[in-house]
């Protein structure tokens, strides 16, 4: 009986999840503009400092082992917070890029495709990085590198700015003057 019950319950839950997706899909368009508002800026320099292996090595040399582990855990938690924001920004940019894909302008569509692909790659890397951070929290002495996440984030910022410049030419003049 337990097997039957488990399978029937699993089928009912799966059906509920599918119906929920069907309902949420109809609301998705309305949520696009909300998603854009959820983008939060990241202090890339502070983030880079946090993940710098040299900083980590310096702390290991200077601090007693117990204190190092405590500091390392605090830094890992801060990294996790940054990476969560990075992941959320990537999600918002996927929505934004997809909404721009439907336009008639081929240049905007190409830039939007680039944003979506970069954002998806970043979201994927963020998930992997978060999993590794949680593992590193259990073993604070282990090495952990999140440079790829920061690199991807910067790449995504560039793609998003290009898209923004194409969609709204007045907005990104300052970047053009520096590039």
């Amino acid at each position: 009986m337990s097997l039957t019950l488990a399978l029937v319950v699993a089928a009912a839950v799966a059906l509920g999840v599918l119906l929920n997706f069907a309902v949420s899909r109809s609301l998705q368009h309305k949520q696009t503009s909300d998603a854009v508002r959820t983008i939060s800026p990241i202090d890339v320099v502070a983030f880079r400092n946090l993940i710098d292996p040299a900083e980590n090595e310096y702390l290991r040399r200077c601090l007693p082992p117990a204190q190092f582990r405590s500091v390392r855990r605090a830094r890992l938690r801060a990294m996790a917070a940054y990476i969560q924001v990075v992941g959320e920004n990537a999600t918002a940019l996927v929505r934004m890029g997809e909404s721009a894909l439907t336009g008639d302008d081929l240049q905007v569509a190409a830039a939007a495709q680039q944003v979506v692909n970069d954002a998806l790659r970043l979201r994927r890397n963020s998930a992997v990085a978060l999993a590794r951070i949680y593992l590193a929290l259990a073993w604070p002495n282990s090495e952990f590198a999140a440079e790829r996440v920061v690199d991807r984030y910067e790449q995504l910022s560039g793609s998003a700015m290009l898209l923004g410049r194409l969609q709204n030419p007045a907005a990104a003049v300052r970047l053009a003057s520096h590039s």
Binding site: A11, A14, L15, S33, T102, N117, S157
Partner: protein, 256 residues
Amino acid sequence: MLQAHSPLWHYLWVAPNVFLLVLALLAWRRGLQKQFPIFVIFAVVAAIEQLTVYVADILPSVTAATWWQIFWVGLLIEAFLKFALVGEIFSQVFGPYSSIAKLGKLLISGAGVVLILVAAVAAAYTPKNSTHSIVSGVHIFEQTIYMVESGLILFLFVFAAYFKLSWNRSPFGIALGLGMSACVHLATWTLMANGKFSPRHDISLIFVNMATYHACVLLWFYYLLVPHKAAQKSEALVPEHNLELWNRELERLLHQ
């Protein structure tokens, strides 16, 4: 009303399959076979297979053993096509996104292997009827197929939702119909395979299956053939204030 060979029973068996053939024809005329070749093949083959089983059921000359053999063959063909259709939906949804398509393939393959193992364990624990082994075999096989199928379709939805990808209308409708049908069939075939109900109640479960399938065929009609309103052009521009903040961050990097 809920009796085998009642007018409702005949309608629910024949109508969805006739509709499915009509859908395949209309989809072909609209050129949808280029985008969804496996779905069109599935629609034609599944409809012909079900109508063949129906004709075999009402023909007095067909023995029970022959009918179950026909049912078995049809089930195998339908199962193969359904898994091919899941692959087609995957390609439609994730193919354009090169950054996650490879990961998606890897994960869906892993999910498939896990689902097959779980379904095999469930099948091993399902009671077998030695006097009607072909019947109990069909029940267990249906339970196994629908378990794997519903798991794979659920994976597609969850994976797309994790990355907040929006589905195009047609693959969404096909996947939703296939998924709903698989979930309901999983529940009903599990109850039948485990012999939890009397034969009278089993007929009610068959009616549930047929009604669900009918609803899913109508859902496919809606998502594939009914034109939807053109989406209003989105105003989701990159917000200026965020651009300025990003610019500032990039400027700081450039000046390091």
